[in-house]
């Protein structure tokens, strides 16, 4: 029976929309607590060496300057490296701000001025005289390929790629072959909101910390361990986040500096970073990749070889799954995969939207296009001939896989059948037209998350969990799930998040929040339902006396019998009868944790297929992406509206990666030179034309009870490759070093 409160799967406006557009949504740097001091960070102009002198006296002499923190006066906090490791820290020795005189990378924080106003702190920071003893740095990845090494299992979740079969044999068996090198450069997340922490000093080392983060518990445990504070002493709040894209997965150094200054000065302190300083921490690492493919006469792949070298810092081994996907996405017996890291003088890279897969899919999906041409096959037909119906990498069946539908529905919507294969064969007046495609695969995962559901005497349901909403729509979809679960209108439900006083949830990342917190929300609501039934049974209501939970339903703000919906009790009456102000329940994560210990029975992944049209001026070689169709198979879509926005953002980012986005390093200085929004190019509205998002139907009762696979990352995959492939189709020019800027096409 359907109910008006069946919100799951319905396009639903963001519940936090009004707060955001009216400005009542407050971000980390907007909490104006009383007696606030302002910290301004001084960044290193050199890339490697030592600080030899810091002349703080003239700065301290300025009226209103409270302190200048440097490695010389910041006390040693926790001693061991492990105290500085956050939930997603890679293997190695985490960076400690203002710890010693050593400079490890350009823009490293070397001092922080704390003053009565932001303007004064900024000015004071600009006149702080620091002397350095500079030594030669190395930032050029290509020069360090020979020193590249195979990383261990440093980071949680990282598995070295597994080869299978015998690639050499498969390569020889092939009747058509391709091999090529691919590369892309570093990218910085650059969310609109810059990193900031406002630390409110409540006395006696009790702090409330408003932090920009993708995980309040991660920030909290970092502060607990580094500063020796109890959980009660460090409450972390992050209700709204102005974009994350992975940059907020690790606590950034402004958190350390703000907490440190607050504890030292026993005052409330805010530290916010500048746009330039947004280039002073993690980034998507540059990778150099090699792909070789071979096919039999029927177009089936006889061998896949994918090898990647990525940069990491001198102090941590940042790993991501760049090449592993190449062993899963297509059917092939002989797969050889390799992944190495090389250390250079940069800050440790950091997960950035579809980490690893975004990089790896550029090489694999351009290579697939090249192979299709070498084998004389249409790129879509070639992929269909190599469709994987069984995950050979994990040796497991798929829990569900509707990629065929993505290919079919995407191609139909795009009109792919009208494509002529020959490069340069399609025109629109004077312009060259190119059609290209790509696609990808991303993990459907789920983490333990605790959710509390609480119904008050007014019949209002508050559901809470310490997860985050980084703009993805968490507030909205959890409200939908809870409202549907309890049969309440959406207005009667509030979802609360982003606070360490709430039940514990994992970091918002990995596209797992919808599945993790969503399923837990259902469980918590189920528990609440049981509690409500139990309370109802204490009331004078014979119909429910012996009713079992399966025999009742929650609809229309009532508890009622499934067999006779006239037998009903209004939910708020149940709470009122209890004599309490509310009835609450929490889910248990025991089953999820047990499930995670068992070997998986299924390969669980989301997929997509992307079709792109470009128009290229044949003389000036300017490229416009005029049409994109992105067909996504990601299980059940809770909110087609917010999910579509996720995929639109992914497509824009894919176009960005293909055509313009890169952090440009001047290796002589070891410094990213385009460290601002004017020169770090991402698309403007005028660069974006038609984008069609298709969610193909994909039912999956194995992945998790709600059948959710997550939508945050998969949409990005294949987009950059599809644009690049379309450029080849338009021009006959195969560019393998992204972004494809105009100079590479002239």
């Amino acid at each position: 029976m359907s109910h008006t409160t069946d919100y799951i799967g319905k396009p639903t406006n963001r519940v936090d929309g009004p707060a955001k557009v009216t400005g009542t949504a407050k971000y980390a740097a907007e909490f104006n607590v009383p007696n606030l001091l302002y910290g301004y960070v001084v960044s290193s102009p050199i890339t490697k060496g030592k600080i030899t002198k810091i002349d703080t006296a003239p700065v301290l002499a300025l009226p209103g300057v409270q302190e200048v923190f440097t490695h010389e006066n910041v006390p040693g906090f926790a001693f061991l490296d492990r105290s500085y490791k956050d939930d997603v820290a890679p293997g190695g020795s985490p960076f400690r701000p203002l710890h010693d005189a050593e400079i490890k990378y350009s823009l490293q924080p070397v001092a922080m001025v704390v003053a009565d106003t932001f303007e004064l702190a900024r000015y004071a920071a600009s006149i702080l005289h620091i002397e350095y003893d500079e030594v030669a740095h190395e930032t050029e990845l290509v020069k360090h390929i020979d020193e590249a090494f195979e990383p261990g299992r440093g980071k949680t979740g990282y598995k070295p790629p597994k080869s299978r079969g015998n690639f050499g044999k498969g390569w020889k068996e092939g009747v058509a072959r391709m091999e090529a090198n691919y590369s892309h450069h570093a990218q910085h997340h650059n969310p609109m909101e810059m990193f900031a922490s406002t630390v409110e000093w409540l006395g006696d080392k009790n702090l409330t910390i408003y932090d920009k983060t993708q995980g309040v518990f991660n920030s909290q445990q970092y502060v607990n361990k580094v500063f020796g504070l109890s959980k009660d002493q460090a409450r972390v709040i992050s209700k709204y986040t102005g974009g994350g894209f992975g940059s907020g997965l690790r606590p950034q150094y402004q958190l350390f500096l703000a907490v440190m200054a607050s504890l030292q000065l026993e005052r409330s302190v805010r530290v916010s970073l500048t746009r330039e300083q947004m280039f002073s921490f993690g980034h998507r690492p540059e990778t150099l990749q090699h792909v070789a493919l071979a096919t039999a006469a029927d177009g089936s792949l006889t061998g896949i070889n994918h090898f990647a070298v990525a940069e990491t810092s001198q102090f941590e081994d940042f790993t991501e799954n760049v090449v592993g996907w190449s062993g899963t996405l297509y059917d092939c017996k002989n797969v050889e995969l390799g992944y190495r890291l090389a250390k250079v003088d940069v800050f440790s890279p950091l997960d950035m939207r579809a980490p690893g897969a975004a990089s790896g899919s550029i090489a694999l999906e351009i290579a697939m296009d090249e192979m299709a041409y070498a084998a004389g096959l249409d790129p879509l037909e070639f992929r269909l001939r190599n469709y994987s119906d069984f995950d050979q990498a994990q040796n497991l069946p798929y829990s569900s896989k509707a990629l065929r539908k993505c290919y079919a529905e995407g191609a139909a919507k795009f009109g792919w059948e009208k494509r002529t294969a020959e490069p340069g064969s399609m025109r629109d007046g004077n312009l060259l037209v190119g059609w290209g495609m790509g696609g990808g695969i991303w993990d459907a995962s789920k983490q333990p998350a605790v959710v509390k559901a609480s119904l008050d005497v007014d019949g209002h349901l508050t559901v809470s969990s310490g997860t985050n909403d980084i703009g993805t729509g968490t507030y909205t979809i959890m409200t939908q799930i809870a409202a549907e679960s309890m049969g309440l209108p959406i207005e009667a439900v509030t979802f609360v998040l982003g606070d360490t006083t709430l039940p514990e949830s994992p970091l918002q990342g990995g596209s797992w929040t919808a599945a993790s917190v969503g399923n837990s929300t259902v469980e918590a609501c189920t528990k609440l339902g049981e509690a409500l039934l139990k309370q109802a049974q204490k009331m004078d209501s014979p119909a429910f006396k012996n009713a079992k939970i399966e025999e009742v339903e929650f609809a229309n703000g009532q508890l009622r019998l499934r067999s006779d919906s006239t037998q009903a009790i209004v939910l708020r009456d149940i709470v009122q009868a209890s004599g309490e102000t509310k009835i609450e329940a929490e889910n248990s994560t025991v089953l999820t944790k047990l499930e995670m210990l068992k070997p998986p029975k299924y390969s669980m992944h989301a997929h997509n297929a992307v079709f792109v049209e470009v128009k290229v001026d044949p003389e000036l070689m300017t490229v416009h992406v005029t049409r994109v169709v992105n067909a996504v198979a990601a299980g059940r879509i809770i909110n087609p509206k917010t999910a579509r926005s996720q995929v639109l953002g992914s497509v824009v980012w894919g176009i960005s990666s293909a055509l313009m986005e890169e952090s440009v390093m001047d290796h002589r200085f070891g410094r990213y030179m385009n460290h601002n929004y004017a020169e770090y190019h991402v698309p403007v509205n005028a660069d974006i034309h038609d984008i069609d998002v298709i969610f193909v139907s994909e039912e999956d009762d194995k992945v998790n009870p709600l059948g959710i696979k997550g939508i945050g990352e998969v949409g990005l995959l294949g987009v950059a490759a599809a644009v690049t492939n379309a450029i080849y189709h338009a021009t006959g020019k195969r560019v393998r070093d992204l972004p494809v800027t105009i100079d590479k096409l002239l």
Partner: protein, 341 residues
């Protein structure tokens, strides 16, 4: 904090006197560049002289048939002024190719001439720059030079002037009106901006304390055959890799007058009169345009990562001249911008 004093000038003479009375004073119009430079500590004036109350924001016909743009008229008001749209559409297009609507609403015409380079190294205090700190060296040479010059460079500086508007003004042969401690004078547009030579810290030929009061456009606006073509790394809000202002007068298919100015390639809007002369009397064909383009780029020198700009500039010149001759918007690579809802 970074203290500075501020006076709101109400008359040109007062503003000029105020400037002379301070060591590190700066005039401020819309502030769209100066405030950026102050935030980045590239510019640190101790005294600002506000110009917004000077008036000088009108756009009026002149007795000789030209048009006078007040120095304080905003870029937006200028671009959309009916006389500009009708008689100087090249200027309209060039202005609209630059910055964003918000910036154009603030930025003034005089200020547009005074924009400083967007060289990455000029903006980053961690890297030496002769323009910012004379004698410290040029970091751009041998570095990342995507927005840097290929013409008229020196061993001391390879920066470019970032303006679009100025490229059109150069092609239209505007005259800059200035007022200074020694009275008023006019400067031909081609003499206003300068090449870096051994004084890259000097962007233009203004004498100390001089203030731009207006820009005079001559009568001839080339409204019939013109084109402003800007090539950049994204469709809006990016500085030119190469831009071309082309203006022609045609008798049938024969070119009787030609103007050609380039942006993004030199320390000043680059005008090549010899190349223009080559066009006169020639048929408006691709061959003619190619010869002129080759002439413009004759002495061009790439700096490594910007070598491509030499070829790109040639193609852009050919295209801009073709567009000017045919007035065919379909050829305009920026037409996409206008088709976007």
């Amino acid at each position: 904090m970074n203290s500075f004093t501020f006076t709101q000038a109400t008359a040109v003479a007062g503003a000029v006197q105020d400037k002379a009375a301070h060591d590190d004073a700066a005039y401020i119009g819309g502030g769209t560049n100066l405030i950026d430079l102050m935030k980045e500590n590239v510019a640190r004036p101790t005294h600002l002289i506000g110009l917004k109350k000077l008036g000088l924001d009108t756009i009026e016909n002149t007795p000789d048939g030209g048009l006078r743009l007040g120095a304080l008229a905003t870029n937006a008001d200028t671009a959309w002024h009916p006389e500009v749209e009708k008689r100087y559409p090249l200027l309209n297009q060039a202005i609209l190719a630059g910055a964003s609507p918000q910036l154009r609403n603030m930025a003034t015409d005089g200020g547009n001439l005074m924009q400083r380079t967007r060289c990455y190294y000029f903006y980053d205090l961690a890297t030496p720059c002769n323009k910012r700190e004379p004698g410290s060296g040029c970091s751009a040479i041998g570095g990342y030079t995507r927005v840097h010059a290929i013409l008229g460079t020196s061993e001391h500086c390879i920066a470019t002037h970032p303006s679009d508007m100025c490229v059109a003004l150069a092609a239209l042969e505007a005259t800059v009106r200035v007022s200074g401690p020694n009275g008023e004078r006019t400067i031909a547009f081609e003499d206003f901006h300068r090449l870096p030579g051994d004084q890259p810290e000097r962007d233009n030929t203004l004498e100390p304390g001089e203030l731009i009061t207006g820009l005079d456009l001559p009568e001839k606006g080339f409204a019939k055959n013109f084109s402003y073509l800007k090539l950049r790394d994204r469709t809006s809000y990016a500085f030119a890799l190469v831009s071309v202002a082309a203006a022609l007068e045609l008798d049938g298919n024969t070119i009787t007058e030609a103007r050609l100015a380039l942006g993004g390639v030199a320390h000043k809007p680059w005008r090549d009169k010899a190349a223009e002369a080559m066009l006169i009397g020639q048929p408006a064909t691709a061959d003619t345009f190619r010869r002129a383009a080759a002439k413009v780029l004759e002495g061009a020198k790439g700096q490594g990562t910007n070598n491509f700009k030499i070829e790109l500039a040639k193609r852009a010149i050919v295209r801009a001249l073709k567009q000017a001759a045919e007035m065919n918007q379909v050829l305009d690579t920026n037409a996409f911008q206008n088709s976007n809802p």
